[in-house]
């Protein structure tokens, strides 16, 4: 028999538990990436030295493989006395990596806000903080929601890389189940389907958010 339903039912609870780890890693990393990306985008718009440093950091991270970054955080940093558990190292790597991609998206969004908006804020004597928070960001974000959403899905699909440092997420769990029982078909199929369903669900969620934002900011 190619497909064993009893075995499938047996491993489902285990994989369900692992999927929680995957979702946690995804959401946590994405939230940090969103914040980090915004900070990086702002730094890059800031002074020449800070801007250059931020740009150099973004280029460095974007030009190296995520897997190398994960290994670096997990295997190399302990040599410098910084010991991270696997989950933390994985989340930090994902956050840094996707934070840098998000910073590019934020930058595009911020640059698309017309100059006249900044000038109106100056003319009305708004503080830099209020200018940014109340006027610029609310105009910069809605157009970039689809692009940020793409990175959410991409990040989610990159979480299996954490299996390389033995985080018990979906793929690592499936691999272990497979090697314990000498059957890979069921766990890998279930895991693949889980990724498919969750990706589709988040894509739908992003579309919904996009439409809601567009409706609210009539242009």
């Amino acid at each position: 028999m190619i497909w064993d339903w009893n075995y499938t039912l047996e491993i489902l609870p285990i994989l369900a538990k692992a999927s929680i780890v995957t979702i946690e890693a995804t959401l946590l990393s994405f939230v940090i990436a969103l914040i980090l990306g915004l900070i990086l985008a702002l730094l890059r718009m800031g002074g020449p030295v800070v801007g250059w440093l931020a740009s150099a950091f973004v280029e460095l991270v974007r030009s190296t493989p995520l897997l190398i970054q994960i290994f670096f955080l997990f295997f190399v940093l302990p040599r410098a006395g910084i010991v991270l558990d696997a989950f933390a190292a994985g989340v930090i790597a994902l956050s840094l990596h996707y934070g840098c991609y998000c910073s590019e998206v934020y930058r595009a969004g911020l640059e698309a806000v017309p100059r006249g908006q900044w000038e109106a804020c100056t003319a009305l004597n708004l503080s830099s903080w209020n200018t940014f928070k109340n006027i610029i960001l609310p105009q910069a974000i809605p157009p970039i929601v689809p692009a940020l959403g793409n990175y959410l899905v991409a990040l989610f699909k990159d979480t299996p890389l954490l299996s390389a440092i033995a985080v018990l997420e979906l793929v690592q769990t499936a691999k272990m189940l497979g090697s314990e029982n000498f059957r890979y078909t069921e766990p890998m199929t279930v895991v693949g389907l889980t990724f498919l369903v969750l990706s589709l669900v988040s894509a739908a969620g992003i579309r919904w958010l996009e439409q809601r934002l567009n409706r609210r900011s009539v242009r």
Partner: protein, 262 residues
């Protein structure tokens, strides 16, 4: 401090502005009295918009001092010396000035009312209710009492510009700057905006400085007209004289060209 001495409301003292090698304004000296309505005219590239933008601190100046209401704005006294203004000083003095832009620059994600309450709440510290009352009064003044809940995209150009005027007035400035405020409008919408400006001229003790191509309006509305040419005031005077009998050859040429085009 204000009111006791008869200082000009705005004073440009030897102000120079350069963009690279290009000198946009060259040693500008200009005084504007409290409540005076001054129209600035001139060909494009003559530096007339730059005058307003420098006064609104949207452009840094390269030389000279701009005074507002008797105190230096671009500079400040520090240990008995005039030094370039720090942001805090700039912000305080700038609060006396409001500006209306050619392209309105309304906040597209806010209703007409919210456009007018944003700065009064966050900058002046008004309560939301006070700010909304003030905004409602001003929207009423510009004839848009019924458009409070509309977003800019739902308004015509003329209506957007009137909201922009209300938004600037909500900060209770002493000086209002109008930068080609009808240039982006269809001709039939200019009238309603000019009508509002006319009303401000009579209802408020406002100093007004406008860059305009509407010669008819400048002639009827302004106390004084300044003709700019190549970064300098080429000729200035009361509208009746400047428009009817310009002395300078450049002014004559410009007016002839503009009036023929109408």
């Amino acid at each position: 401090m204000s009111g006791t001495t008869e200082h000009p409301m705005v004073r440009f003292e030897g102000v120079t502005k350069r963009y690279g090698a290009l000198t946009v304004l060259d040693d500008l000296n200009l005084e504007i009295k409290r409540g005076e309505k001054v129209a600035i005219i001139g060909p494009s590239g003559s530096g007339k918009t730059t005058v307003l933008r420098m006064l609104m601190t949207l452009e840094r100046i390269d030389g000279g001092v701009i005074w507002v209401d008797g105190e230096p704005m671009t500079h400040m006294q520090k240990n008995g010396q005039m030094v370039p203004a720090e942001p805090k000083h700039l912000r305080r003095v700038r609060s006396k000035i409001g500006m209306v832009f050619q392209h309105f620059n309304l906040f597209p994600h806010m209703t007409a009312l919210a456009n007018c309450t944003e700065a009064p709440v966050t900058v002046l510290g008004l309560s939301r209710r006070e700010a909304e009352e003030r905004a409602a009064d001003l929207l009423n003044l510009v004839g848009l009492a019924d458009k409070k809940g509309h977003y800019p995209a739902q308004l015509s150009g003329g209506q957007q510009q009137r909201v922009a005027i209300a938004r600037a007035l909500a900060m209770r400035p002493k000086v209002m700057l109008f930068d080609e405020v009808t240039s982006a409008l269809d001709p039939e919408l200019c009238g309603e905006v000019l009508q509002v400006i006319r009303k401000l001229g009579s209802e408020h003790d406002l100093t007004m400085l406008m860059v305009t191509h509407q010669m008819g309006f400048a002639k009827e509305f302004a106390d004084r007209v300044c003709f700019f040419y190549q970064g300098k005031i080429c000729e200035q005077g009361v509208p009746k004289e400047l428009f009817v009998a310009p002395k300078n050859e450049r002014t004559q040429q410009f007016l002839r060209a503009v009036l023929e085009a109408v």
